[in-house]
Symmetry: C2
């Protein structure tokens, strides 16, 4: 289990960044002194709130995979499962700055909360207003009466998307923050772990789950879950994950949701589709409509085995923000707007220019 | 390693199909008597050559993930690592039929070759001309003088894309077949396996690779490779994979390529980016230009550990076909054309109608 295709573990993150830039040169670049800030080539612009998302590495495609037009402007990359440093965050923040303020979005982890707060202060010294929004979608990490203590996991995908869209529509910093708050409040995630991942530095597993068992609610860095249970069928596991999500969101007949079935690393897409099948069945039984679904690896935990289910309960605004076009390495919605990244140069694209004019946003 | 999120293994493929349809209802439907043919809602149309891709399940997102407008019209789903039956293929073929002929595209495996040939005959009885094109991109599976004996692996991604684009541009059956031939001739893949996958039916591994070893050239169903070697660094492995690819394609200064770094299942995206970093470095040293790259899981082998590198050497036609828009669950290039699947209903899309007129294709 400890075999990995890596070089010197000390160079892991800089090589990851070099790899991402080499694969997505039209989308991504780096900026700043730390070498750890990945920046959207066509993201930051004057008058737009800068969106910075981040956290540790090891969750690919999160976070840098969501950097691009219409979503995040920059992401500082921490080391494996470790928060980026304040200096790395400031690099990303200054790159994202369009003199309309910068919003930092990240999951609720002690190291991230501390470092992003220090980066906020540092940004102020540069004359840039930065504010932090912390995602807390993991229902398993604290009871409902301590909802602010919860960790942020795969459901941050929805919060990032909504905030990125609001910013792209030239909403103010306060409005973007409010959009993120609404997305986070409407999002719940619950996961199951089947097998551990191993740390690239040591080759050692970060925890152990015996054969024939699974752990409900385990965090994406191996934080303890709420129950270690005998292995169950896909349907039974999905029911376990969906029940608290459904109940906390108070879903009623006629409601609309977005669904994310996320793989943690080594669980196959085939299995993830089985989970989605059951999610869709349960929602259909309760006459809740699925507006859109994503099934795949959106926030991993290296090669951990397992999956999570996230639901965002939609209102008209959240739905429109979710549908807003974006063009990033890990998520493309709608048409690319910038001629530089239009993928069909041989076909005239009447949208390219129009959509770049602010009146169309 | 044998823990999986499944229900009754006997229902695995029908539940996979139900899961895919539930997640992608705007893209996918089923058609035919076998229940095993996934069909693009906006793919088949009168006068267009029907594109059918297929093979066994267990390679998700291949093959059904590439069904959609501009790419494949239908995919019959075989059982895990097993060819679809002739009846299942015929279901897909009839669904894809637009009275301009149907092209079957699949990897070079005995079962597939036999079953697709039988389906061709069956199609003829229905009055539909179907022809088969077999992909053979795996350099490790036979020497250059037996190139037609080679297996088809992840590089089929490029062949499907090119054929799908040519068909979408209303090329004739013969022209689409010729496009596929050119794409296949310009594509080479080589892979490395680090760890086995286990069969959903039995929970047993299909082979074993001891700790500290890797196998170069292993097939996507565990077919023996060409060398079992001590584990190496990402760079050293990439050099091993790239050397024969580079040499067989005869890449020269000024040439252009498309790159696919494909994960086989449990290898992380982080590692795949490290491989791409080295691929890009080698190509840059030789002054070969990368036109476009894909890094991720495009043709898996359940949760096998390992990766493959595919290169397609581009000419102007291949490049244009690669850039041609498509909208499928696993691959979206350019703007969705059909209003039904446009993802941004709140924004006017002047392309939607124009691009549907044949003059624009």
């Amino acid at each position: 289990m400890s075999k990995k295709l890596i070089n010197d573990p000390d160079n892991l993150i800089s090589e990851l960044i070099a790899g991402m830039l080499s694969a997505h040169p039209k989308h991504l670049t780096t900026q700043g002194v730390t070498g750890r800030a990945i920046v959207a080539r066509n993201g930051p612009r004057e008058g737009k709130v800068g969106i910075v998302i981040g956290g540790g590495s090891g969750h690919e495609p999160a976070f840098a995979g969501y950097v691009g037009q219409g979503l995040a402007d920059a992401a500082p990359l921490g080391s494996i499962f470790a928060s980026p440093s304040p200096a790395q965050i400031v690099d990303a923040g200054l790159a994202a700055n369009g003199v309309a303020g910068v919003l930092f979005l990240f999951g609720n982890y002690t190291g991230d909360v501390m470092n992003f707060a220090m980066a906020e202060e540092e940004m102020a010294k540069h004359g840039v207003t930065a504010r932090s929004f912390v995602t807390t979608d993991d229902v398993a990490s604290a009871p409902p009466d301590q909802i602010d203590e919860r960790r942020g996991i795969a459901g941050n995908f929805f919060v990032f998307k909504v905030a990125g869209a609001a910013a792209d529509q030239n909403a103010s910093l306060q409005e973007v923050e409010e959009a993120a708050r609404r997305a986070n409040a409407a999002t719940r995630t619950m996961g199951v772990a089947l097998s551990a991942c191993s740390m690239p530095q040591t080759g050692k597993a970060n925890f152990e789950i015996p054969d024939g068992e699974m752990e409900i609610g385990m965090g994406i860095h191996g934080e303890p879950g709420i129950a270690r249970i005998p292995a169950e069928s896909a349907d039974a596991v999905t029911d376990r994950l969906m029940t608290p999500i459904h109940s906390e969101l108070g879903l009623m007949v006629g409601d609309k949701v977005a669904v994310l079935v996320n793989g943690l690393g080594s669980t196959t897409l085939l299995e993830l589709y089985l989970l989605h099948r059951r999610v869709a069945e349960m929602l259909s039984d309760r006459r809740v409509e699925i507006h859109n679904s994503w099934v795949g690896e959106y926030c991993t935990s290296l090669e951990m085995g397992g999956a999570s289910v996230s639901l965002m309960k939609l209102d008209d605004d959240l739905q429109a923000w979710l549908d807003h076009p974006c063009d990033t390495p890990a998520l493309q919605i709608g048409a690319p707007r910038d001629p530089l990244i239009a993928s069909a140069p041989n076909i005239p694209n009447p949208r390219s220019q129009e959509a770049n004019s602010p009146t169309n946003l």
